[in-house]
Symmetry: C2
Subunit: 425 residues, 2 copies
């Protein structure tokens, strides 16, 4: 599948998108009907259709039995429901999530696999290819693949993937050695390398963004905050972060550094944080922090599911711990609410699985610290898309059809040079 289809010129890609869009909108159309709608010359249209059919993006449908005036009925063309158009990949700290949509923008599959936090990037990309393979094994073809939307941990300034440079950028991504995102031996920043690796592997543009911001996007389009114009998304996972939809637009921040709720100070005398700060929310509310604290109090849990079990059994130790964690989280949420005034707060990530044990104290602290006038104007919800939220957000980035992205920089591949080099047919 790699390199099976060199990128076309932007113009030609635009014509293809026009034809695909018409088929998406109208359903099956004859060549003549397509010609009327698209305004392309007959030669150009037939050329494009031939290619689309050759690569299985479009299939010819048998003419219907309705009799026509004379001659045989015209053959119609329709989108191949098995053709993939966009893939989203979330390179999370300790796991990989992929999802794909077909040309009709239906989600045709999603898959996840955990891995060690120190898995080298080459192997992560291998794993990504394997997981995407499980989707194509399910019938998805990649011939029509337009681009891949990729989420990575840490600050990324935008879909054009200018990773934030500077000595502390990598630390902010989760600490040296912890998530494998630091540049090795002074080489190029990891986001760029990932992008190049994926680009080589799949032969299509790769759009990059922060994976938690993409999860916020996914939840705001298809998930718990669908339709929300002012959304605060918080993810409680190996890291603690989030994303914002502000006034109907996904927010990036001046330097791609927004949504870092996990690094808001909750305890000035607290533990040292990987970001270089002290007493950040992440030092209290990340998976590691919660499990460490639980074990320090004599609890036994190696992972979140085991903690959830203890919670469901009503174990006082687990409930007490989560109460304190929830109060810290609620305090941070209240501060951010007072600053930006969202109408919806969505909480996701593995720790959200602890349910009311965590959400009740969050709501209590939120109520205590948000301006009373805002209290009944913000609704607290649990994320609904699960662990593939980030991969789905990556797909949204590629499709770039959500109004939430209207003001977000349009997806640009990192290396337009490469894009040209591979030439057009």
């Amino acid at each position: 599948m790699s390199h099976s289809r060199g990128p076309l010129s932007q113009l030609r890609r635009g014509h293809e998108e026009l034809v695909l869009g018409l088929l998406r909108k109208h359903g099956p159309l004859s060549r003549g009907e397509l010609g009327k709608h698209c305004g392309l010359s007959r030669t150009t249209l037939y050329d494009i259709l031939a290619d689309l059919v050759a690569e299985d993006a479009v299939v010819t449908a048998s003419p219907q039995d309705t009799p026509r005036g004379r001659g045989r009925p015209a053959e119609t063309l329709t989108l191949n429901p098995d053709a993939g158009q966009a893939i989203g990949i979330d390179f999370a700290r300790r796991g990989l999530h992929v999802a794909a949509v077909n040309l009709a923008h239906e989600i045709v599959g999603a898959a996840s696999e955990p891995h060690a936090a120190d898995l080298p990037w080459e192997e992560r990309v291998d794993l990504a290819e394997r997981l995407v393979g499980t989707l194509t094994g399910g019938g998805l073809r990649l011939g029509a693949l337009r681009a891949i939307g990729v989420g990575v941990v840490g600050p990324v300034s935008g879909p054009d993937a200018e990773a934030v440079p500077g000595e502390s950028g990598q630390e902010a991504a989760g600490g040296p050695g912890q998530d494998g995102l630091e540049a090795e031996d002074g080489g190029e920043p990891v986001p760029h390398r990932v992008q190049l690796l994926l680009r080589e592997r799949f032969g299509v543009p790769v759009l990059l963004d922060n994976n938690t911001r993409l999860a916020a996007l996914g939840e705001s389009i298809w998930g718990a905050a669908a339709g929300g114009r002012d959304v605060l998304y918080l993810r409680l996972s190996h890291g603690v972060g989030g994303g914002l939809v502000v006034g109907g637009s996904l927010h990036r921040g001046a330097y791609g550094l927004s949504g870092e709720f996990g690094h808001i100070t909750v305890d000035r005398d607290g533990a040292r944080c990987d970001c270089g700060g002290t007493g950040c929310l992440e030092t209290v509310a990340s998976i590691r922090a919660v499990l460490d604290a639980y074990r320090a109090e004599g609890g036994r849990a190696d992972d979140v599911p085991e903690l959830v079990k203890a919670v469901k059994a009503g174990e006082a130790r687990a409930l007490g711990l989560l109460d304190g964690v929830g109060v810290a989280i609620g305090g941070v949420l209240a501060a951010v609410c007072n600053a930006i005034g969202p109408s919806v707060i969505v909480i996701g990530g593995e720790l959200a699985e602890t349910g009311e044990a965590l959400f009740d104290p969050i709501e209590r602290a939120l109520s205590a610290h948000v301006m009373p006038v805002s209290l009944h104007r913000v609704s607290l919800r649990r994320a609904t898309l699960g662990e593939v939220a980030g991969a789905l957000g990556g797909i949204a980035l590629v499709l770039h059809e959500s109004p939430l992205l209207a003001r977000y920089p349009a997806g640009q591949d990192l290396a337009p040079g490469l894009y040209q080099q591979e030439g057009s047919p």
Copy 2:
């Protein structure tokens, strides 16, 4: 001056704006040149010009001496530099600020006057009219006045002035009885009454918004953050509040409740706040809070200028106090920075006059609590527009030409009914 000019129909107003815009852009034009540019019929154009001249918005300029081919040179028309087009009024808690621009959008005057916090609204509006009179006394004519942009304390959902309803809304505006904004005897909310009073007095549409948000707008267009696309503005005055420019747009929040930095908790065991919360930043960093704390420690200062004097004299008590206040402010700013990633922080309000004594600890705490990766990406600045920032923001709201307002609801008068009732000439 009141009712001297009934509102015209929107169409006619649009034609007038077209003509005024052409004169603003090209400078003096003859009737013939105007006709070519504007595309209006000769009758319509001459009608409109006659009215504009009659109301002193446009003046005829003597023909220049350059000889023409034949006949006498054509008379040219030009904007009257003394004609006011927009007025901004900031109804602050204890003072009133007005500013005006002429048709060329030059600021032609500004004036301020302090008053008691409990001054009734009718008298505030009288005062506003008097202050505006001092500007017109300076030569400004109100004939061409298009609208008034008004800032008020407390939550306002937007320039269409839907004041936030609900039992606690007025408290959030600064506490019952403190700023006179609460509805009296269950009457209509104060922002609406102010709007109606001003509308009666000046006979033009009155656009309303939160005054601190307008100050943020003013500073982001003409002040310390001019050109900034991601700006955090904090005002340290009788209340503590702020405003945000997010991704190049003035931010309003889902319910007009954004920028309430003064109600972010800084001390869970702190003093009761007028908003109903406990230990809000405002209980530590408002003018009253700072002066009270200073006096409690034996200091003598009745107002901010006296405190500034003590600071300039290097008094340890004043410096120590402001150090603590600055640390609290810096912590809140760091939290908001981590959440939204601005590139500029602007601090205004009377307390900013204390200078380094306050800014140094703010910067220290900001550095200690903002994510290290963001540290060198945000610049802390002192506001430059002074006390008329809010009035200038009101003018910006009326002109609605700043890109920062491109996505902000266009100015709508509260009462379109009234607008119709008064009829057109």
